[in-house]
Amino acid sequence: MAHDGTASPAGSGNTELVRVATSEHRLARYGLIAAALTFVALFLVLPLAAVFTEAMRNGPGEFLTVLSDPETFAAIRLTLLVAGIAVPLNLVFGIAAAWAIAKFEFKGKAFLTTLIDLPFSVSPVISGLVFVLLFGSHSLLGPWLQSHGIQILFAVPGIVLATVFVTFPFVARELIPLMQEQGTSDEEAALSLGASGWQTFWHVTLPNIKWGLLYGVLLCNARAMGEFGAVSVVSGHIRGLTNTMPLQVEILYNEYNFVAAFAVATLLALLALVTLVLKSLLEMKYSAQIAASRRH
């Protein structure tokens, strides 16, 4: 028959249809989807759910009491403060670094790019130790700082520094490939139309990178709030003073105060979830614009 390749009306249904070249057999498709979903459930949803149920084990009343504990409350405040300082700093730094690397040619560019990645490649504990070596009482700067009454280690400034160091690459890493791909002709067009450098940045460059920037900031923020290793080294674990939320979780856990530990962990997880949901909402609302900004 001449029409064997396509399903005839009298045939056994649409399973006879010629498949689209890029699609797989139904069994393979469902198999792959199931495998992926199982993996996500096992390694993401289940642990998260465990944290939530553990926190709620004694009911929501206990959950709230635990959170209103003064030490826990101080930890929450400190975490927000540290993120509030570290994220804007790295936002400015990230844009500046990405701008320099993507749009200009200069000596030592490759070295600078590698340097930006440094915080990713060393263990956070070392990132913390760097500051102990730099500002500790037996260091070069230590005695001078002490004599001037400036406390950096085991205080908020040290925690901020360690967090800034660890979250340093997020924004820059996100922006560099984006800005390199976009090239400089948009900027040149603006300049040729008479725009100043600042106007060009504000009206052309920034709108072109805003989605990448937002993503970088969200990641940077998530890490700034969640950083444990580096902060643990420099914080000194002074209760109610230098404990951030991740440190507080550890302390409570080590004291077998499981409900409290999981309650704080829940809050930390929620902060991360909120940022992700926020990002998805923005992406949904501006999907057309995002697509346009990626097109040439």
């Binding site: 300049l191 008479g194 614009q289 346009a292």
Partner: protein, 344 residues
């Protein structure tokens, strides 16, 4: 505005991109910079714009030395090959950009800016699309927006870098004709860069042929095509045949035969004969170039015939009217009617 480029030299690192280039562009002229890639044509355009600064030399806008001015101060309009439209702005905002970012003292009122932008969109035949975003336009439409945006600031000179390079052949042709119309209507001094000789010859008042960082020839399209002044220009523009000949007593010889072309006043010695495939006449014999037909191709309104003339395996292509029937292996004799000699 008149633009003069004087003894410009530009080096990137140690690599010279332009070497002692001088060029006078008359006010209101439409001029093409034509050359293969790497010839320095885009660099020259960007130097005029102020997007690059010369290693040596001066650019004059009118009588004013523009070399020390920034790109913003030069007040030029630049159109990029890949449009470089601001993708987060509507078409109208793109066109208005140059006016809205002016400092308060020099900025026209909002209503005037809008009116001017709409007029320009009308000029480039995009009325009604002012609320669209660049991503919602076709390539040809985007380039027209880019042109309107460049013209909005009343530029001293309009500079276009391969403006049709990213478009398909049909749209290219249309836009070419349309750009000429716009130029004739607005009278902007315009310089455009292209590697497409058809584009340059069809569109420009004068063509500047460039090669290896230098200007080879400047002239009207007719001058460039009919009287190329160097082997490079002859070879780069249009089709050409090259034959190694010898001059003896004002006559041209191809190996041991006179080809019936006289070159009075030419010194004796070897030379290269350049002629175009269509600048020939067929002959029955006598002093001529004779060869055997190797291949014939019908290209639009002419028949291209490839001849093997037996000399050092040289193949020659001539163009004949299509009704002139030739068969393979048949013998044809011809003589160039318009030609040029170059010596090494």
């Amino acid at each position: 505005m008149e633009v003069r480029v004087q003894n410009i030299r530009k080096e990137f690192g140690r690599f010279p991109a332009l070497n002692d280039v001088s060029l006078d562009i008359r006010s209101g002229e439409l001029i093409a910079l034509l050359g293969p890639s790497g010839s320095g044509k885009t660099t020259l355009l960007r130097l005029i714009a102020g997007l690059e600064s010369p290693t040596e030399g001066t650019v004059y806008f009118g009588n004013e030395d523009a070399s020390r001015k920034t790109v913003q101060e030069r007040n030029i309009g630049f159109v990029f090959q890949h449009y470089a439209l601001f993708r987060h702005m509507t078409v109208l905002d793109n066109v208005s950009f140059g006016l809205t970012i002016r400092p308060a003292g020099r900025r026209p009122p909002k209503a005037d800016i809008r009116k001017r932008a709409l007029e320009l969109l009308d000029l480039v035949q995009l009325s009604g699309l002012e609320k669209r975003y660049p991503a919602q336009l076709s390539g040809g439409q985007r380039q027209r927006v880019a042109l309107a945006r460049a013209m909005a600031v009343e530029p001293n000179v309009l500079l276009l870098d391969e403006p049709f390079g990213a478009l398909d052949a049909q749209v290219r042709k249309e836009l070419r004709r349309w750009l000429r119309e716009i130029h004739d209507r607005t009278g902007h001094t315009t310089v455009f860069v292209t590697h497409d000789q058809d584009e340059a010859l069809e569109l420009a008042d004068r063509v500047v042929v460039m090669s290896k960082g230098q200007i080879e020839q400047i002239g009207t399209p007719d001058e460039i095509y009919d009287t190329p002044n160097s082997p490079f220009v002859f070879g780069f523009i249009g089709q050409s045949n090259i034959l190694p000949v010898r001059v003896e007593n004002g006559q041209l010889w191809l190996e041991d035969r006179s080809i019936g072309v006289s070159a009075p006043g030419e010194a004796d010695g070897p030379a290269q004969l350049y002629f175009r495939p269509h600048d020939i006449e067929l002959l029955d014999g006598g002093g001529c170039i004779a060869g055997i037909v190797v291949q014939t191709r019908r290209v639009a309104g002419t028949r291209h015939v490839e001849l093997d003339i037996g000399t050092a395996n040289t193949k020659v292509e001539i163009e004949l009217p299509p009704e002139k029937a030739t068969s393979d292996r048949s013998r044809l004799a011809f003589r160039p009617t318009r030609w040029k000699l170059f010596r090494d």
